[in-house]
Symmetry: C3
Subunit: 481 residues, 3 copies
């Protein structure tokens, strides 16, 4: 019967003390945030032209011209990346599957609502109202993606309340940065190499730096994968990989732009997969492939094609970009992550620097170069879609390239300073963070059925009339001894 | 080598006796049902205008005007909800994963064929023929969803033959109810708060009431989850959550209607997720989150937006509805489910009353109220799409609201009476139902490899030269002692 | 911390010797192949009309007429089938999940790039250039599917280098065969019953025949499933099943053709599921259902509708085809697979003969018959879409039927001869194939965390102060004794 539990467990209860108890804190935070959201939506949000019954029928449209039909399939692919892709990618930890999928779910559900308001506010109000439709839904999901990247950096070391607080601030800063880039500077970044990946990664890395835990090795026995958890994580990886072409093309101009962006990303990812496997075998133990690399580095090609994907990068250029991204990413996992932890005290649980940070910077640079060499000859009338300021003669292509490079610096600056401040806020000892000894552990915030772990003795070994605690449960029991 | 099994097992065989043996019964039922379906399709079913080569080319259409392009992506999302969403949501039980996904697969494959005929018959024949295309495929999947909701109520306690018989009757009654609502009463219910969720839930609850098992606690050690089964279930949950906007908008009018419905549902679900987490922490043990609530209650927002989603509910209104649905659903799991079982003898395995029943009723009420206040001022010319009878002046908006409320009563009546009758039919002792002691157990209907459970002794404990039966297998062995 | 491993293991290392060590071989092969691909893309590949910024804007198109909007949702469904569907379908083996998903990922990423070039070369160059867009992406994924079918036949017995070499040759031969059928003979095979399924299956069966391992039973304890691996495999099955309508309709003509193909496939699969369950209960042990049949045979209806799906097969005809395909497939698993292994020395790990081989032949025959009876009366002007040569009077329908039958023979010939040659190439002892004793084992090519398998003794049995190796790990340890 769903809703009833049959067992209880002393060992599990030991894990919960008053500071991490969520009984009142989490409901209060969730209710307050959601009620504020609902009120603000009531005051500020309206249907846009394509979702409003009166407005849409007011003009002599054909139903088939509704933007729904040209964005919604992309939206759903992005949606799958946010909730299944990110959620399951992080289930690789042996005892943190509930939290990976579950907290991903919670903070994404919050972030997409808050992002609707923040992005609507910055992207331009209509008579004091925010107008929403499928494009704003995609943008809200994009902003959410950035928060989830940061979640990857602090995975296993934060309470759900810390995550909600982080999301609240990060969505706000994301929207500020996005506004500066897209609206003030006229930067192109449809797939978000800068706005989403670089921002989310360095924001998260700075937060995890501020939240540095010197005694985290007390939880290190849980900070690794088991066989099945790696398979669950592959579900996340493969969905991210498959749908990345939709991600990068979801909000580009219609027509050839969406089409080209999806295709460039497809070839970038394919090339990246090849170089990731090569580098994994080359660097890992005994020539064996390492699941960490496959789960993560093979995706770097999507990140690196985020800015230039909509440009005339050509499949050839896309493959070179993806090829390099895979190499950089594996090298990062192998050599940079340990250094970051030991020297810079950055404990980056998922290695977001390798998957989103460095490939995001690579993508920004590729975008700047590709923009700088854009010509009317190559783009024809399509130049208006990709570089409207250049097409209108308001800006030279080389200037556009320079602006793209400046945008990367702006993004890094806002991300690092924002992460610093938010990190200190999250350090306040009232949010129920787990102690160093019980990080990477579902049981502290989730009711985990003891049936998962206990095996009664069987008729075959009745002479040992006792209860065995098996496999997944080792870490707890060895502590309790 | 697929197709060969290497082991055999005495303990497993003990589970099978002649009454639950499916060797002849299941093939006979499947073959007879499928042959009847094939014959009826041969006699009654034709391609509709958009799928027939001659008809479609007969008119001066552009290929792009084929309805395929405006419904098929939604259809595929719904299809994923039916087969992955419902199928994996029910894998939470520790030893019932094969049956959850596998019986879901079987009865869905049957139901969608039978629903094509039943709905085609009631929705209007064309010269004695049923015309089918992508819209009928979506409707058949919808009807199938209703059957799968009922499956959730009886999960673990029925044979596949009982499920096929139940599906046969339920599809028929679903089509009758749907016909009365949509065609006779002119009710609006695009996302099926009433026709799908309320109907499926109360039909299933009545069936499980009639099939009440007083000694079900003999199987209670299997009626719970383990760590990995909860992660598999989250795959189902997340897919249902992500694609619910497609579900509610799949058969609404084209244009703004589909667009608006999807967006309303998206915000309802996001708000529902927030309140579900809050309520779970508030009510569950020690302030810890309960997977049961997250897996189920977070979806109630989709159910509750099923009727009013296509209306001008506004994102604000949608969020309020979702917020309430999450609260109601968690409270149901916590307080109502145990009462239903103890007082009313309703053993509701998946808690469908909390996920589909009460949120469905909430959705029906919200729909009635929203319909009652509809005005030409708000909907403009779009009123023809949403409330054609009101737009044509044949009915006042307030009357439409009243009709919506009456429709809920009709649905509840047909569901409860239908479930009562079908429950008694399923009680006939010829369908191979499992005994009370072996409910929630795959091994009774599936060949479960013994390799799954047996561990040979290792070099480390050779002095106990015996075979251990581990983890998943505990329940069986402890019985056999 | 991702990127670091905490344990090491003697037993695991024993598995790796120099011949199977991939440290240099795999990187060299991957880098060389990818660099060749990148160079060839640079020289030969261009955006097609719908992806090129200048070309697309050169004509007075509406953005919504870009083929992206009419093929991309189908492409993504096919993409999911290739990477999730095939990848997870093969995770049924207890210790081969990493390789199933991971090698599937690697060879698919390579094949889709190589297929772009090969198919582009054969399908017609434009001024010495290959033009690519969403349709070429779908075709590349299709060709990749064929390689993955062959992978199913040799699953567990090949190194990743062998697989890449096989993919390289198979993609080439696939493209030759596809060119002969579609371009030379004017065969219709939109869903690839012949070009994809028959070709992939018999190519793979011939390869596995040449690679026959007389001592494979030394690994037979790993050549079976466990409970959770069967659930992971069901993810693959269900995705393949759900998206098969998109697969068969992805490259048919626009309009009614795509619509009809999807619907025919949908009903074929539903009927096939019913007959698969019936036959499984009828033939399997004690009337219990066998996961092998459900995971595979239920898909045969999609294969069998691959050629005739776009024709006016009617739902009635589709259901008969699916019904027969399910029966044939289960019978193949039960009776033919053991015979193939014992008499013909064909060790077909996934039973691709039953899922792709025989159902593919059935589909080819159904296509030939359906083509032979096509009339202008039934197809109207739509005849130009489906049978252009017949519509233009260049060929009688009966001749088209004959050509279809000849095409099956051509496909079988090229597949068998090609598989024979490629098999002998793969036999060269330099590719790092696993020894007979360690087939079906991830640990030979992947770093598998020992934490997956080791259970420390607990406080309850401290008197046995030792380390147990449990469940998944049995096979290794029993070898080491």
């Amino acid at each position: 019967m769903r809703g009833q539990k049959w067992e209880n467990c002393g060992a599990a209860n030991n894990m919960t003390d008053s500071s991490t108890n969520m009984r009142l804190k989490l409901p209060i935070v969730c209710f307050i945030l959601e009620i504020i959201l609902i009120i603000l939506f009531g005051v500020l949000v309206e249907y846009d032209h394509d979702t409003d019954a009166r407005d849409f029928h007011n003009m002599s449209h054909h139903d088939y011209e509704n933007d729904f039909y040209y964005r919604y399939p992309s939206f759903q692919d992005v949606h799958v990346m946010i909730f299944i892709g990110f959620g399951f990618l992080m289930t690789f930890l042996q005892r943190y599957g509930f939290s990976s999928v579950g907290f991903n779910f919670l903070i994404a559900a919050f972030s997409l609502q808050w992002a609707t308001l923040m992005q609507g506010f910055f992207h331009g109000m209509h008579g004091g109202k925010i107008h929403i439709g499928v494009e704003s839904m995609i943008n809200a999901d994009f902003c959410t993606g950035s928060v989830l990247i940061s979640f990857g950096a602090v995975l296993g070391k934060t309470s759900p309340i810390q995550l909600l607080i982080m999301a609240m601030f990060e969505v706000t800063l994301f929207s500020v940065n996005e506004y500066i880039l897209l609206s003030v500077l006229g930067t192109k970044d449809a797939g978000g190499s800068m706005t989403i990946h670089t921002f989310g990664a360095y924001f998260g890395l700075m937060v995890t730096r501020v939240l540095y835990r010197p005694n985290l090795d007390k939880s290190k026995h849980r900070n690794s994968s088991v066989y099945h958890s790696d398979l669950f994580a592959m579900i996340g990886t493969i969905y991210l990989w498959m749908f990345w072409p939709s991600f990068n093309s979801a909000v580009t101009a219609h027509g050839d732009d969406q089409h080209r962006t999806a295709m460039n990303t497809y070839y970038s990812l394919a090339a990246c997969t090849m170089s990731s496997y090569a580098m994994s075998a080359l660097t890992a133990h005994d020539g064996k492939l390492d699941m960490v690399h496959i789960q993560n580095a093979a995706l770097a090609g999507g990140v690196a094609a985020g800015t230039a994907g909509e440009m005339m990068l050509t499949p050839f250029g896309s493959m070179i970009v993806g090829f390099l991204a895979g190499i950089i990413s594996v090298l990062g996992y192998k050599y940079l992550t340990p250094v970051l932890e030991e020297k810079l005290k950055i404990q980056d649980t998922c290695g977001v620097n390798n998957l989103h940070g460095m490939p995001g910077i690579l993508g920004a640079i590729v975008g700047a170069v590709t923009a700088a060499v854009a010509t009317k000859d190559v783009y024809g009338e399509g130049l208006h879609d990709v570089f409207p300021l250049v097409a209108e003669g308001k800006r030279e292509a080389s200037v556009q390239g320079g602006i793209q490079a400046v945008s990367l610096a702006v993004t890094l600056g806002i991300a690092l300073i924002g992460g610093l401040i938010v990190g200190f806020i999250l350090k306040l000892p009232v949010f129920g963070a787990p102690p160093d000894t019980i990080c990477f552990e579902d049981n502290i915030y989730w009711e985990v059925s003891l049936r998962s772990f206990i095996t009664n003795s069987t008729s075959h070994d009745q002479n040992q009339n006792n209860t065995h605690l098996h496999s997944l449960d080792v870490s707890i029991t060895s502590q309790n001894q």
